[in-house]
């Protein structure tokens, strides 16, 4: 074998991983990519719940499920949300707003979280951005 042939063969061997890093497997068949995308979609999906405003959003969906439309659906949905909130003790938490014990303060914080949609929206946006970045980074590190 000539020197140039040997060099060409060596070059081809070194270049091969760069040309075909995943042996031609499409991305949707690459388990690393799909698992990274799946995990990212799951976490972003959970985080996106905070983006849904109470009125006209999840409330309307619940109201539609009960057979109502428009504002009536919002009201019906809100009633369900409030009933669920009350059953989990959120109203009780509001009454004890100035409990200064650590448990009381944590309870107050958790209580208020359910009542201030704006903060939930802001936290959701930040988390979705972070999820997107981490997913993109994980995918880029896949073979």
């Amino acid at each position: 074998m000539t020197h140039s042939a040997v060099c060409a063969s060596e070059g081809a061997r070194h270049r091969r991983p760069a040309i075909a890093p995943n042996n031609g497997t499409p991305w949707y068949k690459n388990s690393c990519v799909t698992s990274a995308l799946g995990a990212g979609a799951l976490s972003a999906g959970f985080d996106a719940i905070g983006l849904i405003p109470e009125a006209g959003g999840i409330a309307r969906i619940i109201g539609h499920g009960s057979g109502y439309v428009g504002v009536v659906a919002d009201q019906a949905g809100n009633s369900v949300i409030k009933a669920v909130g009350a059953s989990t003790g959120t109203v009780r938490g509001l009454n004890g707003l100035f409990d200064t014990s650590p448990q009381g303060l944590i309870s107050d914080g958790l209580t208020v979280a359910g009542f201030i949609p704006g903060l939930g929206q802001a936290a959701a946006i930040g988390s979705i951005i972070m999820d997107t970045y981490k997913t993109a980074k994980a995918v880029s590190q896949c073979p």
């Binding site: 719940i49 983006l51 509001l94 303060l105 914080g109 201030i116 802001a122």
Partner: protein, 146 residues
């Protein structure tokens, strides 16, 4: 009005505040480069604490915007913002996924504490009280999406 009533009425006003859809979109678009920037400096773990601290303080400013003409309000907010700096820098934050609802709960605790501090300071400062002109701005720009 008692301290508890002040804070309760502020929370009631805060409940009505929403980010309009265009603000959500703008934050999503313009916030996208932020993790890359933090990661570039090797501090990706600080992105969410900083984001959420700014959100809480911004939300508080929007709620109490009419107190902006009082020097005590800005001094208190500056002190509160300064107190957040060591909280962000010295707590060992991780990059592991935490549900946004849990983060919102921590934000709400922070929000509740700041409201309480502002109410206490407002009580000791002579002149118009926090409860008299503090939360009438809640129907402003941030309530547009309802």
């Amino acid at each position: 009005m008692s301290l508890a009533s002040d804070v309760k009425s502020d929370i009631k006003a805060a409940k009505k505040m929403r980010l309009p859809w265009w603000a959500v979109l703008c934050l999503l678009v313009f916030g996208m480069p932020l993790p890359w920037l933090f990661d570039h400096f090797g501090r990706l773990n600080l992105m969410l604490p900083i984001w959420n601290s700014v959100a809480v303080l911004g939300f508080m400013l929007a709620l109490k915007w009419k107190l902006g003409r009082h020097a005590w309000f800005w001094i208190t907010m500056t002190v509160i913002a300064a107190l957040h700096v060591p909280l962000i820098l010295f707590v060992p934050w991780g990059t592991k996924w935490v549900p946004a609802l849990a983060i919102a709960a921590i934000d709400s605790l922070d929000f509740c504490l700041i409201l309480w501090i502002l109410s206490v300071v407002g009580k000791f400062v002579p002149g118009p009280k926090a409860s008299e002109d503090g939360h009438s701005s809640s129907g402003g720009t941030t309530a547009a999406s309802r």
